[in-house]
């Protein structure tokens, strides 16, 4: 039973962590939390099943196509819902613009793909039981993503430019960094990470349009716990959430597990609204 909690908890936690990173990557570049994070996760599974299972495309090519779709959707999100809102006075309306876009995509998926969960193909038929790909694939994806991001941020100039605009947008613009372009790039990157999360988790979560709202929420919890913008926080928070959820599933079972997660989320938010790494607001006047 412990084995089940750990293997499953970590796998689903890795998916949550990746969605959390998706939120963060978009947030760093734009100060916008986008409701499209869960949508990307949902599409990762649906598009993967569509390309590989339905259309019979080679798994590797299908995977690349899914990521490409994620990148395109990320760019569309930036152009359609983030940029116009950032220009306006009431910037907090991004909450509604991104929600609207995510709902539109979800509804199209529901109509074109169907409202029933559909299977996701087994890509690597190696390993049985606890070594099944559905358990280690999300963890691998999470590790690769966090490693890749570390590499990007540490060893490439564009990665450091991401960090720079995240820390001080104004100073970055003054230095002549291409802020707009970097924001688009970060949304494209977030699109790929989000669909990667959905793609690797789809063996567990299936290709199902309803995953959007689940991932939106459970992916945001690690961000709220780990502090916004912190990818390491998101990974730790995501894995912890996965384990907690799984343990609650075992201990109290059924729908009370979901209620327990919601309760923890709200209590933590009320006690530490800024997350663990948050700072208090400075002068207001």
């Amino acid at each position: 039973m412990l084995q089940s909690i750990v293997s499953y908890g970590l796998a689903v936690g890795a998916v949550y962590a990746l969605i959390g990173i998706t939120y963060n990557v978009m947030y760093s570049a734009s100060r916008v939390f986008s409701f499209t994070a869960g949508m990307l996760g949902m599409l990762g599974g649906v598009l993967g099943a569509l390309f590989i299972q339905k259309m019979g495309i080679n798994a590797v090519l299908g995977f690349v196509m899914v990521l490409a779709c994620g990148a395109v959707l990320g760019i569309v999100t930036e152009l359609l819902t983030v940029r116009p809102v950032l220009k306006s006075i009431e910037q907090h309306l991004y909450v509604l613009s991104t929600l609207a876009f995510a709902l539109m995509i979800q509804q199209v998926t529901a109509i074109e793909w169907g409202t029933e969960a559909q299977p996701f193909p087994v890509l690597l038929p190696i390993g049985e039981g606890w070594l099944d790909q559905k358990f280690w694939l999300p963890l691998l994806a999470c590790a690769v993503t966090i490693g890749g991001l570390e590499f990007l941020y540490r060893y490439t100039l564009i990665g450091r430019a991401f960090l720079a605009i995240a820390e001080d947008n104004y100073a970055a613009r003054a230095l002549g960094l291409p802020e707009t372009w970097l924001r688009i790039a970060s949304f494209a990157l977030a699109g790929m990470i989000g669909t990667l999360a959905g793609f690797t988790g789809a063996q567990m979560l299936l290709a199902f349009f309803g995953n959007q709202s689940i991932l939106n929420f459970y992916g945001f919890v690690p961000v709220a716990l780990g502090g916004m913008g912190s990818n390491r926080g998101a990974v730790i928070g995501g894995l912890a959430l996965g384990l907690f959820q799984q343990a609650a599933n075992f201990l109290v079972g059924g729908i009370f597990a979901a209620v327990a997660v919601f309760a923890v989320f709200i209590v933590v938010l009320l006690l530490r609204p800024e997350g663990i790494a948050g700072a208090s607001t400075a002068r207001r006047v």
Partner: protein
């Protein structure tokens, strides 16, 4: 009221006088348009118009100080020129029109702006901070230019692999100035590089300006410490209430008095008593 009315044109007269005096001299010397030519520039924040109809010019390799009391619009002027803030009016560098509200293109054209408050990226190393400043420069040249910028500040060079957060305020300011140098700008704009620094460090930072001028880079310096500023520049503009109220050579004898009059206004008592 009468005196008030009289006072404003008086300033304009001074200005006109100096402009008409200085500009031909420059033209004689360079026999072409100066490096930087700003005309008819207005800018502000939302509905608040901060700058009205600004005109100024800077020659190649010339160091100019922009002085003025708080709230006069000095920082706003630098922002408008470097494209961080939308503006109306013309900014020409080397005869070429600078695009409005496009800091990236402005930097690429050779105008670097070191913003106020030593805002470096604290989570990156000094070296990375400088590499970012050379984002638009081809990769092959970038490393060399970073080294050249570091040559101005040996104390930063020694800490090049440390995170900027470990630097003192003065060192961060040096790093910020060094960032401005990486792109080998034709004009470097510095916004209050002395703010929050000890006098020794102020001298270190300002000394760099002398070096720069010697190497042919023009400098526009916004500074509160007027005497220190005057020691390193050729010429000054004074900004008050959103307009240029004075232009003079740095070595003019009566300058402090003229500045005082320009700031406070000579007819200060006039409005209500009239």
């Amino acid at each position: 009221m009468i005196m008030m009315r009289a006072w404003r044109p008086a300033v304009r007269k001074t200005m006109t006088h100096h402009c008409s005096g200085a500009a031909p001299a420059q033209e004689d010397a360079m026999s072409s348009e100066p490096l930087l030519q700003v005309s008819g520039l207005s800018a502000g924040y939302g509905k608040i118009v901060v700058l009205r109809d600004i005109a100024l010019s800077i020659g190649a390799g010339e160091a100019v100080a922009l002085l003025g009391p708080n709230g006069a619009g000095k920082t706003t002027l630098l922002r408008a020129m470097s494209g961080l803030l939308p503006r109306s009016g013309q900014v020409r560098l080397g005869g070429q029109e600078m695009p409005n509200a496009n800091p990236r293109a402005t930097v690429a054209a050779g105008m670097a702006h070191v913003v106020e408050g030593h805002r470096v990226f604290t989570q990156l190393t000094c070296h990375d901070n400088l590499l970012l400043a050379g984002y638009g420069v081809p990769g092959a040249v970038r490393a060399r230019q970073v080294d050249e910028a570091l040559a101005f500040f040996p104390e930063i060079a020694a800490k090049r692999n440390d995170k900027a957060v470990t630097l003192s305020g003065g060192q961060q300011q040096m790093l910020a100035v060094a960032q401005g140098l990486v792109g080998k700008p034709r004009l470097l704009m510095l916004d209050e590089p002395s703010a929050g620094l000890s006098p020794v460090l102020v001298d270190r930072v300002l000394a760099a300006i002398t070096q720069l001028r010697a190497s042919g880079t023009a400098v526009l310096l916004v500074e509160q410490l007027i005497e220190k500023a005057l020691a390193v520049v050729d010429r000054v503009y004074a900004l008050a209430r959103g307009s240029i109220v004075l232009e003079a050579r740095a070595d003019e004898a009566d300058l402090p008095n003229r500045l005082e009059r320009a700031y406070f206004g000579e007819g200060a008592h006039a409005p209500l008593d009239a």
